[in-house]
């Protein structure tokens, strides 16, 4: 048993859901108890999908356990097939169903559906979300892909590739795919299939027709790419095109696979290199940065941080044990201790110990950073809704490097501001503990108590002498006001005072407070 307060990854069936939801015409039937549908809201809320994930749950309850949960599952599969008419059906168990040992694969096959039924074995007590996504994608490909037509592939044709790895709920997958597709197009390479994101069952069948594969997210696509290489001699790319140097390396890797020259003009819209060289960025030199996230993003970000931003990498870690080796290698390069853990308290300890000036991490590190008052930017899942932005915001390619530069610099103090801080260290406005002016006051953010005190101070009805007609607050009313959430308290106070003034009341009581609330409520 392991005591867990927060988890970086969900259970493996959530990974399977990410693959199913990414695709257009598969349906996943999950043998699961009531409540497991919570995972739907990750897709409909965090990613803001305008449709339900293509997942049906068998929803067994305690009273079903003695009886026939297997029958329940079969009905769920049959009904889901009738209603949604998918071209392939994924079936599997969530953690609880794994314990009751119905066999989803066998049960679904017994229905003789006219489409492929792919059983997923996802060991919920050993593995996690990314592994689940990887395994699901692999099983889909294994079961569906067809060998390429020999004559066709022998005939002269434009070099072609597939893009493997993007899924639903992937950190910036939507825009990375667009950025890299445009890059490949500019290199004269045809993108045959992008999978699993927006791929159909038909698309998966055609995977073997391309000359090579581009792996964007090894956590999800490596197993599949390795299998495709073994089966169909399709080589796959190893470089993750995050950062300008890595993108250039990626271009070299791809052009050597496609045997095409590198065209001019690829870097026309790239600004991050010049921005980094501009004098305003000098103060970034040697900034101590700590990185944590999934292995791929962390390793790539460390390179960008060190080679293209001029930061000093003081710590690096990952929660993905499957890719610990890559992170250990990188750690050697920066001569730091790798941190391989999925315990966010261990990450917090490490950060406290290293006292970096910038944290690049996940949603969790953002909260740690907030607590420790350290600037932070998000580079990896798990992320919250604000990291599924409406605007174009890739991490990969040249535009991705532009995005990274802006995103990472933003939380840091501007150079001049930092200079002023140094000069006027003792000044009451520019003291050591002051946060960047564009991020609000740290003193307010520090603790709710100070925040409240500050609000109370600034909101005190100062102009008592200036406005003789103003009313005073009774102790109870003041206390009652304190119960209102601090972010609307100022408004409540102003409204109540205005109301009291209009009504000619000299004392504000609890009654007045609520009378005013009723008066102004809309």
């Amino acid at each position: 048993m392991q005591l867990t307060l927060w988890t970086y990854e969900g259970p493996p069936h959530v990974g399977a859901m990410r693959v199913a939801t990414a695709m257009t015409n598969v349906h996943y039937v999950l043998h699961a108890p009531q409540g497991d549908t919570y995972a739907d809201l990750l897709f409909t809320m965090i990613e803001r999908l305008p449709r339900r994930p293509p997942v049906t749950y068998s929803t067994f309850q305690a009273r079903d356990l003695g009886g026939d949960t297997a029958q329940l599952f079969k009905e769920a599969v049959a009904n889901a097939f009738d209603r949604f008419q998918p071209q392939a059906v994924l079936v599997g168990s969530s953690c609880t169903a794994e314990l009751i040992q119905d066999d989803p694969g066998g049960l679904a096959r017994a229905l003789n559906l006219p489409v492929p039924v792919i059983p997923l074995e996802l060991p919920a007590y050993q593995r996690k979300e990314n592994w689940g996504a990887s395994e699901t994608f692999y099983q889909l490909v294994r079961n569906l892909v067809k060998p390429a037509d020999k004559d066709l592939s022998a005939a002269p044709h434009k070099p072609s590739c597939n893009i493997l790895g993007p899924t639903a709920l992937g950190f910036r997958h939507r825009d990375d795919v667009r950025e890299i597709s445009l890059l490949l197009q500019a290199l004269g390479i045809e993108v045959k299939v992008i999978a699993p994101l927006n791929a159909s069952v038909e698309d998966i069948r055609k995977l073997a027709q391309a000359d090579f594969n581009v792996v964007l997210y090894p956590e999800i696509a490596n197993t599949t790419a390795q299998w495709l290489e073994r089966q169909f001699n399709q080589p796959y790319t190893r470089t993750i095109p995050i950062g300008v140097s890595a993108t250039r390396e990626f271009i070299r890797e791809v052009t050597s696979l496609s045997e095409l020259p590198i065209p001019a003009g690829l870097e026309d819209d790239m600004h991050s290199v010049w921005y980094s060289r501009s004098v305003d960025s000098t103060y970034l030199t040697g900034k101590r940065v700590f990185l944590f996230g999934d292995a791929t993003h962390v390793v790539a970000a460390a390179r960008f941080a060190s080679e293209e931003m001029g930061f000093e990498v003081v710590g690096i870690g990952t929660y993905s044990r499957e890719f610990a080796r890559e992170v250990r290698e990188a750690a050697k390069k920066y001569q730091v201790e790798p941190l391989i853990t999925d315990d966010y308290l261990a990450v917090e300890e490490q950060i406290k110990h290293l006292h970096p000036e910038l944290i690049l991490g996940t949603q969790m590190e953002r909260h740690i950073a907030k607590r420790l008052n350290i600037p932070c930017a998000v580079i990896s899942a798990p992320v919250h809704i604000q990291d599924f932005p409406a605007r174009y915001a890739p991490q990969m390619g040249f535009e991705g490097a532009n995005v990274l530069f802006d995103t990472w610099v933003h939380p840091l103090m501007m150079g001049l501001e930092e200079h002023l801080l140094g000069m006027f260290r003792e000044d009451f406005e520019f003291h050591d503990g002051a946060a960047p002016s564009h991020l609000g006051s740290s003193r307010v953010a520090e603790t709710p108590v100070t925040a409240l005190r500050e609000v109370a101070q600034t909101e005190l009805p100062k102009p008592i002498t200036a406005q003789p007609a103003s009313s005073t607050w009774s102790t109870e009313a003041e206390k009652e006001l304190g119960k209102i959430p601090f972010f609307v308290r100022g408004k409540a106070r102003r409204n109540t005072e205005r109301y009291a003034l209009e009504q000619g009341l000299s004392t504000i009581t609890v009654e007045t407070l609520y009378d005013a609330k009723a008066h102004f409520s809309r």
Binding site: M1, Q2, L3, T4, L5, W6, T7, E9, G10, P11, H13, V14, P33, Q34, G35, D36, T37, Y38, A39, D40, L41, T44, M45, R48, L49, P50, R51, R52, T56, Y57, S58, T59, F60, Q61, A62, D64, L65, A76, N79, S94, C95, T96, L99, I100, P123, A124, Y125, K128, M364, H367, H384, K483, I484, E511, Y514, D515, K517, A518, S521, R522
Partner: protein
Amino acid sequence: MGCANTPVISEKGQRQVFCGLTGIIWLHRKIQDAFFLVVGSRTCAHLIQSAAGVMIFAEPRFGTAIIDERDLAGIADANDELDRVVSELLARRQDIKLLFLVGSCPSEVIKLDLSRAAERLCKQHMPHTRVLSYSGSGIETTFTQGEDACLAALTETLPARTSQGKHLLIVGTLADVVEDQLSVLLRKMGIEHFDFFPPRRSTALPAIGPETVCVLAQPFLADTARQLESKGVKRLEAPFPLGAEGTTKWLRVIAQAFAIDHFRFEEVTQAARQRAEQSVARHRTQLQGKSITFLPDSQLEIPLARFVYQELHMKLLEVGTPYLHRQIMTPELEQLPSSTRLSEGQSLELQLDRCDADQPDLIVCGLGLANPLEAKGFTTKWSIELVFTPIQGYEQAGDLAALFSRPLARKLKLVA
């Protein structure tokens, strides 16, 4: 009028609901020295964290003891493991006075006996920390039923009341501000001896005795009510304190039980009641005549339907509830129009088909369905907000109405 006797559509099938573990999210905010330790899988941990959203604290007062393959294979004795995890936890969190071991689907299926574990751990950690257990598993509980299970477990530990005089126990988690408002009204009526359950601190558990009567502030507390009744506490039957009408009727039942005279009651409640009516009326202009469907979620659906029908004059199409406890709900059902289609349980796809056929102006539903329904052109109010927001009592009646009018107002505002 009244649909206490109308037939209910009772459905089985796929359910789009939370499990009882979700109750931890508001319970741990209410009981400030309690820790909720789920004994379950990574799914359970992921669920609570997804549902708790941005509620990340210095250290949250909930966590999961994740069962791993060693526990399942019997390599590690699950009970020893649990003892170890609890000791680690309590060593780190010295401030915890009450620890709940919360059962989940996996722990129930492998039949890990948490009540015995709690007894054992209680002996070990008393008097510093009391350890209790309840089940929040999806196979047994739906969403707010988690609170019911928790409070039912806590009921067992309520001390005996020694002082004399009639005593009122208000049962169900309410926001602190709501508790305070209700307290003021009760005191003004002359009712001095009352307690809220659950209390804000586990060390201040209310005592109950032969002169205690209880009233439910939340509709989903059937087991807790039964437990209290078995301990000789009489339950007052009342509708729930939602809206001006609901609050007045709820308070009146209490006033009558405490023999408060009519005049006094009117005097105390009149001003607040008028305020509530006035603020609700503003929303009525926008909402009256609009049709509404509730999908099952929290068991608050029936009282909420009564509120929107009675005070906002909305047209009820379907009112779905995960579980219908007739006895508790009778005072509410009597006030619903007999044309209301009631449903208990869920077969999600069939229910969505009915929504398609009905084309309601507003659908109250969970977060997994809200955006997909909006994208199909429906207007939705996501239901979980109705559990987290203070909506009970007079001063919140306007806020409650606003929760229903805001989505429609927004539709009207947006031009693109």
